[in-house]
Amino acid sequence: MSTRRRRADGGVAYLDVQGTLRERTVDALRDRTLRGNLDTAATSWGESRDAMREGYGLDDMRERAREIRRSNIRNLPALLAEMQANVREAGGTVVRAADGAEACRYITGLARARGVKVVAKSKSMATEEIKLNEALQDAGIEVVETDLGEWILQLANEHPSHIIAPAVHLNREQVAALFREEAGTDEVPDDREGLVAHARVRLREKFAEAGIGVSGVNLGVASTGTVCVVENEGNARLVTSQPRIHVAVMGMERVVADWDEAAHILQVLPMAAIGQDAANYVNLITGPRREGESDGPEEFHLVIIDGGRGALRGTEFEEALSCIRCGACLYSCPMWRSVGGQAYGSPYSGPIGAVITPLLEGPSSPASRDLPFMSSLCGACGEACPVGIPLQDLLVRARARSSSPATRASGLAFRAWSRLWRRPGTYRAWMAGWRLMLRARGKDGWATDLPGPGAGWTQVRDMPTKWPPRR
């Protein structure tokens, strides 16, 4: 079904993205439908989130969440060892994969060995990161995304644009058209309830066929070896209970110590993610089905992915590992709200994506080195983050990491500029000259094509020749 290509090097960013980051951003800005859809979503999210802040003291809950996650990351090796031992104790299999390619090899190998033809998936950013769908399809295995939004995107052959609401950039008419094409009939309703009911039946057919269910993991609880899968639709429960084999794919940083910590994070997550005080379904899975039980998978496999995470411990970027993937920084970011997630070219978009994509890929990756610059550094992301990651600081550090050191010429130019602006006399002379130049080049109160360093400004906006500007 998908024609997306897969990276051989285990990178995070998508390989099939077109153009440069700048070109994709400009295209997205010109797409009026997209902006309308994003505005609707971001506004409703903002309202629900404000209700959480007032009614539930989300800001106070954040302090504890931050402490929990920092301590988890500090103790990561011990927690992972405990998690691994307890999953095995419960009858599950644990695999530690150094990178995405290794994880994909294990899962496709398992599917082949068990003769599985259809894999049903619930929403998982980790599998999007490791390009599992492409790997399974290359092995001749059908993969079906069962989260409604993800299924819509799979039919559209597009990448998700938001961690929580992947198809937020498409409207109802666009969805109805995709469903009609998939079903091969025009008899698909075009109201929202009808579309949801249609998908329910189509996807039940896939659940009945699937030999493996693949889920992500929101949290792993080390003390009992339990994986937590949080969702609203019920598809993750079907994925984790109906097929004969359940494979859970977890980023190595997703582990908490015990149920006291888990209870806190499990409440913070839906509040920050969707502005609700609980997710509709939280599935807590400890190994495969037990003797006497008549449903649930016979085999449970937990695949834990490093993928560059381990190397971030102890660095100035360590706090990025605290992320619980709620998506709050996306909606709060004026950049993301303007261009959506797809312009980023990575499964992880928005501020957290701009930080972690280049970190997981390595500083020289051309696919992601510009991402830290997708920010005005306004700090809204850091304020929205329910686990207190100082995203704006990480963005600045990520910029420094992906920028080449200043050349001698640019260093000299900045020093000269600084000297001019530090003295009132030369500063005033500079500004007088600038005003003259603006008037000379401007027309009807606006300059539209400035020379030199001003060119970057007027490429995408105009500069008023006097203040206040003429309307």
Binding site: W45, V168, A278, N280, Y281, R290, S294, D295
Partner: protein, 197 residues
């Protein structure tokens, strides 16, 4: 047919009242009944919701309240977990569409409107989610206030962790189309909690 109006009036027990309030917020419904009326009340609700078949958890509470007989009197087909149905029928792809899974939660979280379902031989993981309707039979003394308290009991030291635990807070929903919440995405379209007190 729409379910009949059931009384959700406050009963003066703070945890019960808080749970009823939270269930309403989660788009589920709840009612409080005496043990002697529980079977009849649950059957009545299912009949009003148009349920054709009920799949009951294999739990002593279900027998104690005489639910199977009450359902049969309403003309509802009754199966008990494990049902032995084929995959397609248990997934709702064959047989009656209006199936109701009847669960017996191990606990409930008053603050959040959450029922805690523990998988066991008599209590399938898919019982509530494969069906179109979900009725939970909840003894009032199983209600705790916070999620933390509920999970501390479920995963208490010295108790074997259940193979699967589901925290269910209202009917299935999706906001994936135009970010507007729509009920019945994959799981149950309705959820009704019968609180037995």
């Amino acid at each position: 047919m729409a379910p009949a109006q059931v009384s959700t009036a406050a009963v003066g027990d703070p945890l019960v009242d808080l749970l009823l309030e939270s269930l309403t917020r989660r788009k589920a419904t709840g009612q409080v009944v005496q043990p002697g009326d529980a079977g009849r009340a649950a059957a009545r609700w299912m009949a009003d919701a148009g349920v054709a078949r009920a799949v009951l958890a294999g739990d002593p509470l279900v027998d104690r309240i005489g639910l199977a007989d009450a359902l049969r009197r309403e003309g509802i087909d009754v199966l008990t977990w494990p049902t032995g149905l084929g995959k397609r029928e248990s997934m709702g792809l064959e047989g009656p569409i209006d199936v109701c899974g009847v669960t017996v939660p191990a606990r409930a979280v008053a603050e959040r409107g959450t029922v805690v379902l523990e998988a066991s031989a008599g209590h399938g993981r898919g019982l509530d989610v494969t069906s179109r309707h979900h009725v939970a039979l909840l003894p009032a003394d199983r209600i705790v206030r916070t999620l933390g308290e509920a999970l501390a009991l479920t995963y208490a030291d010295g108790r074997a962790a259940p193979s699967a635990v589901s925290l269910v807070s209202g009917p299935s929903r999706s906001s994936d189309i135009e970010k507007i919440s729509t009920l019945g995405a994959h799981g149950a379209l309705t959820e009704h909690v019968v609180i037995i007190r």
